[in-house]
Symmetry: C2
Subunit: 698 residues, 2 copies
């Protein structure tokens, strides 16, 4: 066999004159390590595509979008056996200069579509130039979000119409998408047709097309358009929130929230269902209210972010089953009584216009509802699972999503169970005398001196503790207006630790002699957390407040314990989610016994995990299939028909529990001495205790 | 080989004792001739399904729908080698008795789902029990319509919800459809979800589901529901018509029509496009007008037929490109100037609610738009092709669909061409002094005595000619109110035959001396067709009327001739379609020279073929694919840029034509002697003649 170099040399001599492009160069892309030989003169983007390198482009290589930015590396790369020299890449082109002038181009960066390969080269694709870039989440234990939204933008040049070969503008656009992007459109929305002809002509026969799921044409803009947003929507019973998100970068560009307008139809879910039962057509009223509020929030989010509603192309929605049904215009009556039948337990995709959002978003926008798990366990639970992914973990994880109806998920990669528990809104700060939602002025941190019984606290929006210099200004500027959900947990736990309330939840009236903070109020006592001033009201914790939290936390505990019973092993990890959960200190939640015992450092508050799950489903289309599969496999437990629920509930009224010993908690925190005689057995907190209790009360 | 009968006999002896059901009987179904052996006791429906016999059922064999009616035949059938005896079928069952009592059952008929096979039997499936029954069309030369609508009804029994195994009502319905009908639903509409829970409970866990295209769930009704209708909609420039059709029988249950409300924006299409160009937003006004009128017509059609709007599940729409675009809310401006770009040339399926029909039809109803052929050749032309199917024929067929814009199709199974021609509305009776649409009181038949020049005529809604006894009553009761499109063709042709107008279209003023019917009107003359009485106005044909028809028919002829030129061979068959075309006498159309020469007995008027095409697409889903394929293959000719169009137009102003000799017509009808010297060559009617004509005028 002849020496290949010689042969190569000969070939070059013979063919060299023909075309310089016959010369090839070796190119290595980092971080992928993909490599190959290309004719000199090949644009870097083209080489990347040939090799399947993850290099983005919206404009299809026309130097408009700037998504294909790369960083050529120069030097000796022994690892790749490549010497990469400045001369191995073409000089800055006019296209690049124009782009740099218009939109800026960082030192050392080149546009992959414009820069040509002249010799052996190492090229780095920075994270922001990768199609499948990731949104990094702060918590180490959760997966990053890979950006792969269901709607993508593609810039195309479209053939002009020819009278002699008549064809529709749409069909020529489809041909362009096929030829320039390899996309086969099999369905175009009516709004596309209604605007396409103007788009094409305004864009001088170029448009940017929004393509859904790789085959559905949902909208076009004239010329180059680089804005595509989506909204992750969490419809809570008490609050609704919208996270307006850039579908291309994953960035949340604005977040807005509002009270759920349905509160006027009843604070908890069942009273809303009752409203429908008592008022024929009431469901339509409630549907209109919640759809209107969402529309309002969308406009607010778009305005805050300074974007056009037309650029919102996709929504993902999560919520409990009743809110899910009401948002979809489905009468929720069947969810109000056994057997709690859902209209559907599958994920749903509808037009945004079908849920009253006409004009608030792009006319081609779709709304994707994550699947409900069961009649009492909603799409919010599905979203929490998507965010926390217990189904991928070895350790047994207990997730409680605290809302007006708490949704509880328990399990690991072998098995996942879910149920819900009617906690009521107390843990969110509602039905508490001084309760309020987590907003500026709400007390969120509390410490009580066990000697003096004097409290100190912090409010949302203020930097100082109430006993620090500077708090006076906070009180004046921000105010001290009430107690939010996490604040009420803390104050009760501190009251318990300080001995102001006993494990049975009774405020000790005898302490009135010791502290002016403890005051009689009828036949019971209250604790004055904050004294009134000219501007701010008195904030006290009443015996009724303690009872409300006891009922709520007992329901939460009972539901969780039910799942723990089914699995037969205690949780190795606890995740506290929910609107209240972002600021809660896990320690205090455990002291009050909101959930079964667990190592304190294995208990986390993760905030609005349902909202995060909605955002994952918004940014990554594969996540939708994943959560649908996972939800199908979840074992659904109906607490209402589980006889042990009531037993667990009664036992869990006490702090942290009447009979469960909570050894892991006690190892970490010094709890007050028990007055009620504890029984052995961690989960045996049942009928016996309940009966005893009832006897004692009777 | 052993005698099979003996073997059979032995088997029976051996196995007979085992089970009576092991005994089999031989069943032959007619007309299909399908046959097989079945265990004694098998219901006839089940046997039919096993053999793939075309026997219908909506209720799935529960004795509710009565669609599986069969007629057992008794006697000796040597052809099938079967002796069929009354004892070979079970006695009338309770289910049958109940059905007969409630809905009636013809003598000799049995319900296939209930009657069991007891012995060898011949069973006839009457046409009305066949799934794929046919709608027989009156004209022998067109295909019957096989009923295979895209939406079908299926009755199912659904599992009740179980709290312990929670699942959505929808998912249990889908399971039932899979198990009971073999249907895999892959998509359910939101309206289904919004009503499903009530339907299931009202129907005591039985519902009838409307399934689209075999996989899409569009609606449910409680219990058994046997009504499914569709509407074939023809959106003409001048009139709109709706044919409400039973999707299960193909029967048209009501037909309603209205003037197109867009007439107020301009009588012809181009003036409507001009309106949009001059009035920004004018397209939205026009869209609203046409959508409202369609909604009104749908309500009217449903009311006349006594059906619920909710039972209308599908619409098919045809119309010219401008009306097509306007109905869809697409600005038609681009259709107003070269290159006449369509927004799309493909078929379209949208929700009926997307074209403003919310509440007028079932919320799950879809509107299917047949594809437009080209910028000037609409979905109505596609529908005409579907109805007449020239693409399946050996003979060269010329189809003209006369509307305000005539659409012309020419070809055979080898090749099909299409164009349009701007005839204006004269041929539909508009822009004619006494013109009116084809309604009661309109003159539609005319004869003129060539000696006396006296006319006789008939009006729509009257049985007598105007010179017959009894016409006075018609005139009094029905009225003589104007002339419709076909009437204007007849009166002009008769005037030409009688010598009142010459081949150049001039009313001969010299005849005023001979007849009082010919009167001067300014510098021209008119012909009085009907004298006024106390109730009815005078009806006269003016010189301007003749000119209007000349312009219209010249445009029509020129378009048709253009296509004939392209093919290079004259038509072997002519089809006159259009609202005007149902009553027109082909002879008169030929005498005036509306289309190129053809054997008179090969010229047919077929009425509203576009409407028929829409009805075919409504009743048969395969027809939709067929017409899409056909339309794609049609060669589109743009008359506006064909230089010969103008030449053909000028030549065709004369009756029947200035230079084309029309030998086939002349062989059948004695035409007046020509005043203009004819030139040889059938289609050479062009530039030379035109120049001569202009010189003569100058």
């Amino acid at each position: 066999m002849a020496d290949p170099e010689t042969v190569e040399g000969e070939r070059e001599e013979i063919e060299g004159a023909k075309a310089a492009s016959a010369k090839t160069a070796h190119v290595v892309f980092t971080p992928s390590g993909k490599r190959g030989d290309f004719p000199v003169g090949t644009p870097i983007l083209q080489a990347a595509r040939t090799l399947g390198v993850d290099l983005d482009s919206v404009c299809g290589g026309r130097g408009i979008c700037g998504r294909c930015q790369v960083v050529p590396g120069f030097g000796d790369y022994p690892k790749f056996k490549v010497k990469s020299q400045p001369g191995c890449i073409s000089d800055t082109t006019k296209v690049e200069a124009r782009y740099a002038d218009k939109r800026g181009l960082k030192e050392g960066r080149r546009l992959g579509c414009s820069a040509q390969i002249l010799g052996d080269l190492v090229v780095d694709v920075p994270p922001d130039s990768q199609v499948h870039r990731q949104v990094v989440r702060k918590r180490a234990e959760v997966r990053n979000i890979e950006i792969d939204p269901i709607v993508k933008l593609h810039y195309v040049e479209v053939q002009e119409p020819d009278m002699h070969h008549p064809s529709g503008d749409l069909e020529r656009l489809e041909t362009a998408l096929q030829e320039q992007w390899g996309i086969t459109v099999d369905r175009a929305d009516l709004p596309v047709l209604q605007t396409l002809q103007k788009s094409l002509r305004q864009g001088d026969w170029t448009v940017t097309a929004a393509v859904r799921n790789g085959h559905k044409l949902v909208y076009t803009w004239p010329g180059f358009h680089d804005k595509a947003f989506g909204c992750a929507v969490d419809i809570g019973s008490t609050t609704m929130s919208v996270h307006l998100t850039d579908l291309q970068t994953g960035e949340v560009v604005s977040s807005v929230g509002a009270m759920n307008p349905q509160i006027r139809f009843g604070e908890d879910l069942m009273s809303r269902v009752s409203y429908v039962m008592m008022n024929p057509g009431g469901d339509k009223e409630m549907t209109a209210a919640v759809q209107e509020t969402l529309g309002f929030l969308l406009v607010q989010a778009a305005t805050e972010a300074g974007i056009e509603p037309n650029d919102i192309l996709e929504l993902t929605l999560v919520g409990n089953p009743i809110m899910h049904h009401l948002m979809l215009g489905i009468d929720p009556t069947e969810l109000g009584w056994a057997p709690f039948a859902l209209a559907t337990n599958e994920a749903l995709r509808v037009w945004a216009s079908q849920i009253g959002l006409d004009g608030k978003v792009n006319p081609g926008a779709r709304a994707y509802f994550l699947p409900c798990v069961a009649g009492h366990v909603g799409a919010d639970a599905a979203a929490v699972v998507l965010s926390e992914a217990p189904q991928l973990r070895d350790e047994l994880t207990l997730i409680v999503d605290v809302g007006t109806n708490a949704e509880i998920v328990y399990g690991d990669k072998e098995r996942l169970l879910a149920c819900s528990s009617p906690t009521g809104p107390a843990l969110e700060g509602a039905q508490i005398s001084a309760g309020q939602r987590a907003a500026n002025g709400a007390i969120e941190r509390v410490r009580i001196n066990p000697e003096t019984l004097e409290p100190r606290f912090k409010v949302i929006g203020g930097d100082h503790w109430s006993d620090e210099e500077g708090f006076a200004e906070t009180a004046r500027k921000v105010g001290v207006t009430g107690v939010c959900g996490s604040g009420i947990i803390e104050v009760l736990a501190e009251m318990y630790l300080a001995g102001i309330i006993d494990e049975d939840g009774v405020i000790d009236g005898a302490l009135a002699a010791k502290s002016e903070r403890v005051v009689a109020e009828g036949r019971t006592f209250s604790y004055i957390l904050s004294r009134p001033d000219g501007k701010n009201p008195e904030i006290r914790v009443t015996q009724a407040d303690v009872r409300a939290i006891q009922l709520a936390k007992a329901a939460l505990y009972a539901g969780a314990q039910l799942l723990v019973d089914k699995v037969g092993r205690p949780p190795e990890r606890v995740v506290l989610a929910g609107a209240f959960g972002s600021h809660i200190d896990p320690k205090y939640a455990m002291i009050l016994g909101l959930v079964p015992d667990c190592e304190l450092d294995r208990v986390q508050s993760v905030g609005n995990a349902a909202g995060t799950g909605a955002r994952i489903a918004l940014l990554n289309r594969k996540a939708r299939d994943e959560i649908r599969r996972t939800v199908r496999a979840i074992e659904k437990i109906e607490t209402a028909v589980e006889p042990r629920f009531q037993e667990h509930f009664v036992g869990a009224m006490a702090f942290p529990h009447k009979s469960a010993p909570f050894p892991k908690l006690r190892a970490a925190v010094q709890l007050p001495e028990r007055k009620i005689a504890a029984k052995g057995g961690e989960s045996d907190d049942g009928a016996e205790g309940g009966r005893r209790r009832r006897r004692r009360r009777g």
